[in-house]
C-alpha cells in the first residue's frame, strides 16, 4: 500500500488523505497514519511544486557541473559530497559512474553569479580536482512533466 500512496503523491501532491483513501479503497485514518510514518522515516522528504520559471519574470539560471574529486580514506565520496550539498545554491548532488564523480546542480540569478560560486566556493575545495560547468539553456521536461506540450483537452465534448 505504501508504494501506491507514494506513486499517487509523486504525481500529484495536492491530493489529500481523504482522496487517496477513496482512490485506494482503504480507510482515511490508515492513509494518514502511513503518510505520517513515511514522513518520519524520511521516505517522504518534502512536498515541492514544479514550476516553469521561464514563464515568470524571475531571473533564474541553472547549471549542471561535472565535478571530479579525490575520495577520502574512510569516507569515500560522502564527506566531500556533503561539503558541497550544504551550500544553499546547490539544488542537487548525485554521485555518478563514468567519466566524473559528482553532478552538482546549481541555481543562481545570473550566469555570473553561478560562475563565481564555482570559482570561489566549489573549485577551491581541497578534494575537488576539476569542474566543468554546463548552463541549462532551456528545460523541456522536468520530473516527468513536459513544459512544452499543451495538456488542453482536444477530445470532442461528447462522444459515444
Amino acid at each position: 500500500m505504501r508504494e501506491e500512496i507514494l506513486e499517487i503523491l509523486e504525481k500529484n501532491s495536492k491530493l489529500n488523505a481523504e482522496d487517496i483513501a477513496i482512490m485506494l479503497n482503504i480507510p482515511k485514518e490508515e492513509v494518514e497514519k502511513e503518510i505520517e510514518q513515511m514522513e518520519k522515516e524520511q521516505i517522504i522528504c518534502g512536498y515541492n511544486t514544479l514550476i516553469n520559471w521561464e514563464k515568470t519574470n524571475k531571473d533564474l539560471v541553472t547549471a549542471l557541473i561535472e565535478v571530479k574529486v579525490t575520495p577520502q580514506r574512510g569516507e569515500g565520496f560522502d564527506k566531500i559530497a556533503e561539503r558541497i550539498y550544504r551550500f544553499d545554491e546547490v539544488k542537487a548532488v548525485y554521485l555518478m559512474s563514468g567519466g566524473f564523480d559528482l553532478t552538482v546542480i546549481i541555481e543562481g540569478k545570473t550566469m555570473k553569479e553561478v560562475a563565481l560560486f564555482v570559482a570561489q566556493k566549489l573549485a577551491p575545495l581541497e578534494a575537488v580536482l576539476s569542474t566543468a560547468t554546463h548552463f541549462v539553456l532551456k528545460k523541456y521536461k522536468d520530473h516527468g512533466i513536459s513544459f512544452e506540450l499543451s495538456d488542453k483537452d482536444e477530445r470532442m465534448v461528447i462522444s459515444p
Binding site: 499517487i8 500529484n12 491530493l15 482522496d19 477513496i22 482512490m23 485506494l24 479503497n25 483537452d153 477530445r155 470532442m156 465534448v157 461528447i158 462522444s159 459515444p160
Partner: protein, 387 residues
Amino acid sequence: MKKEMISSKVRDIPPSGIRKFFDIVNEIKDAISLGVGEPDFDTPWHVREEGIYTLEKGKTIYTSNSGLIELRQEISTYLSRRFNITYNPKDQILVTVGASEAIDLALRAILNPGDEVLIPEPSYVSYKPCTIMAGGVPVTITTKAEDEFRLTPKQLESHITDKTKALILPYPNNPTGAIMEKEDLEKIAQILKDRDILVISDEIYAELTYGKQHVSIASLPYMYDNTLVINGFSKAYAMTGWRMGYAAGPKELISAMTKIHQYAIMCAPTTSQYAGIEALRNGDLDVAKMRDSFNYRRRIMVNGFRKMGMDCFEPLGAFYVFPSIKKLGMSSEEFCTKLLYEQKVAVVPGTAFGESGEGFIRCSYAYSIENIKEALKRIEKFIKQYK
C-alpha cells in the same frame, strides 16, 4: 437533392441521441464535460514513435486484406495469453478499421432479411442501426440495475425465437460499466450451446476491468465455434484515432467478413497496423498503468455520487459510471439539458443508449481528478436544488 434519393432504410434510422445532445453542448461555452467515450491518455509514445518510424521508412502501401501477418500473429498471441483463446493468425483473424467495422461486417456477413439479433440494452449506439442496415431485425433485451446490468439467462431465453440469428454480448459495457463474470457467462452458454446462435462478443473494454479479470465467452466449452470475438486498440492503448480493431472467430465467418472488408475497405490503415504490433509487443505496462489510473478515478466518482445520495451501482469495467436519477422525477434528457444550462456540466442521457437508459445518466471518468471533483461538486449543487 430530393430526400427520396436516400434509401428509405437509411432515412428511417433515427439520428443518434448522442449527436443530438452534442449539438446542444456545443452551444454552451466553457462547459466542463464528463461526456467522452475515449481515454484521456495520449497513445503511448513508443507506439506513436513506431508509427512515425514506419512512415519515414515509406511503409505506406496496402497490406493484405486481413491485415499484416505479423500483426495477426501478435493478436493471436495476445488473445491466447490474456484470455486463453486460440486463433490461427492465417485464417481466423481479421484486422478492421476499429471494432465498429468488425461489428458491421459480422452482421452483414450473417444476416438474411428478417433474421433477429438480440441486443442487450443499454449498450453502445451502433448495434441496432448496423443490424437494420444489414437487413436484420434488432430485438432488445433490457438489462436491469438490480441485476447489475448483466444479461440473465432467463431474459435471454425469453427473447429467443426461431428467427434468432445472433446475440450481441457487449461486456464490459458502455454505458453501464457492467461486466459479465465467468459464472454469468456459463449460464448464458448453457442456453446457447445446442442452438445455432452466433455470439458477437464485443470485448473492446476487456483490458479495463477492476478487481476481476475479463473472461471471454469464447473460452468456455461449446462456445468457441459459435462465437466471434471483437476487440481493438482504442480503449486499452488509448488509440481511438488510429482506427484499429479486429475480429477473431470461426474461419468460415472470418472468410465471409473478409470478403465484405476487401470490397468496402481494402485494408486497415498501414501505419496504424504497424503501431498496433508495437502496442501488443511492448504495451502491457502502459495498459496496467492506465487501468490503475482509471480505477482510482472510478472510485472517486462512484463515491461522489453515493455521497450525494444517488443510486449508483458499482461499475467493474470500462470507464463509465451510470447513476440513476429517477429520484428527481425528471427524464434523462431533461436532467442533462438542465444540468448543462444551469451548472455547465455535460453528461450523456442514458436514453442515448436505448430507451432502457431512461432514468440514468452516463458519466465518464476519463478525466483529471480535478475535473471530476469540480463536476461532482456542481452536480451535487444541482441535485440539492431539485430534490
